[in-house]
Amino acid sequence: MSPRRSLLSRVFLANALILVVAFALLASLPITVSWPATGAELTVLVGGLAVMLVANLLLMRRVLTPLRRLRHAMTAVDPLRPGQRIDVGARSIEVADLTRAFNEMLDRLEEERRESTRRTQSAQEQERRALSLELHDQVGQNLTALLLQLDVASRSATPEQRQALDASVDTVRECLDQVRGIVRRLRPEALDDLGLSRAIEHLCDRVEHDSGIVIEHALDPELPALSSDAQLVVYRVTQESLTNVVRHSRARRVTVQLGPRDDGVRLSLTDDGTGTAPGHREGSGIRGMRERALMIGAAFRLGAGESSGTRVVLDIPKEETRP
């Protein structure tokens, strides 16, 4: 129901109502005030005034409550949890207008935020790609060359020198492994080569191998195809969540599920670790996941698992699937 009255007329009507009642009472009752007023007359006057003031206060509060609710609703809106729109049951035109304008502003802000997140994320992915290529092509190749040179040098070396050179070879090899590790993390090459499901399988296997945490994955083969942005979001959210599990949760088992749901796709990760403490401040990793989710209009939820641990859910809307 849309309100028909303005705030001004509602305030005016409330005041007018009180004055009319007071006027009617004065006109119809045998009330007279002598000069100077007697104690009894003053008591009646003060009583009447008190009644008018209280009535006015109650009426004004009723008129202005939607404004107060609007302010509360405005302060409670969290930019990282999109889709919240306020409805304060406005009874005046101004409050209804204000609510609508605020909701429209939220629409615009969310749209702008989605767009700018998309831009930042894609710039970040490009930067990562360029970095990983450089690392791989330059640092990696030079380390390979160094490995070969050290091997050649050790042939004409004395036994003591050879021992030192062998130690250097070990260090270089370690460096090379580290570079490869960084390159892999920077760029989900597997995503381009293998497709989403297999890339996630690959990721799970690697994390399981490196961390010793059992990672079960249930990846539905009937998964609708996702846009490339959405694929990257699913991959990065899985990667970040698994990193969190390894670093903070002390979990022994994680379940990763990816499958269709309500025309869209749902990713969920559940672990049996220590969970997040209530009121715990969210770190940059979780913030990053929320922003990535925002970018594709997906819902991201982080909460307690069924019995213990943490559960991360990412619901990707139908719009991000490809027919």
Binding site: Q141, T144, L148, D151, V152, L176, R180, D193
Partner: protein
């Protein structure tokens, strides 16, 4: 003593080429006959230096070693080819086998293993990369259904001529299809 194994080193990084040269020239039974840095210098270098073995980097500017390997191998008197890669993933074995590579070596192996592989390849010993069932399944996933029979015959070592007869297409078409398959897998 048999003649030393002539090796052509193909890598776009001068430092890696120099390292490989030092390594190979340091062996008694092999030496570097020439170097190339990209697909354009590769074919002339093979013609000019007539190497026994080509050590071919997987990642070259604008192309990949596996596709290049297939092109070189189309020639009847092609040298033996060892693909040398920074990342050897099990899935690479399939395109390497299809392209006719004689071996696939990871750049992080001990240099001794690299020279041993060169020696075995030169001697004609079978060192072709082993194809795991998983790698084959992945290749199957990536390719269109039409290409699957060709994939099956190729990994089983059916010669191209026989392949052309079985499918009733020209040898040229077979090569074309293989190029396309490698484009997807390599």
């Amino acid at each position: 003593m048999p003649a030393a194994i002539g090796v052509l080193v193909v890598d776009d990084h001068p430092a890696v080429r120099a390292g490989l040269r030092a390594l190979i020239d340091g062996e008694r039974d092999m030496h570097v006959v020439g170097e190339a840095s990209d697909e354009y210098t590769l074919v002339p270098a093979i013609r000019r230096f007539e190497p026994d073995v080509v050590l071919l980097d997987y990642k070259l500017p604008g192309t990949d070693g596996i596709s290049l390997c297939h092109r070189v191998k189309a020639n009847a008197s092609a040298p033996r080819i060892v693909i040398y890669s920074s990342f050897v993933m099990p899935s690479m074995a399939v395109p390497a086998r299809i392209a006719g590579a004689d071996a696939l070596v990871d750049k992080a192996v001990e240099p001794r293993d690299l020279t041993r592989t060169i020696r075995r390849v030169a001697a004609g010993e079978a060192t072709a990369p082993q194809i795991t069932a998983e790698a084959l399944a992945l290749a199957g996933d990536l390719l269109p259904i039409d290409d699957l029979p060709i994939l099956g015959m190729l990994v089983n070592g059916v010669p191209n001529r026989e392949l052309a007869e079985t499918l009733g297409i020209s040898l040229e078409d077979v090569n074309h299809r293989i190029d396309r398959i490698l484009g997807v897998l390599a």
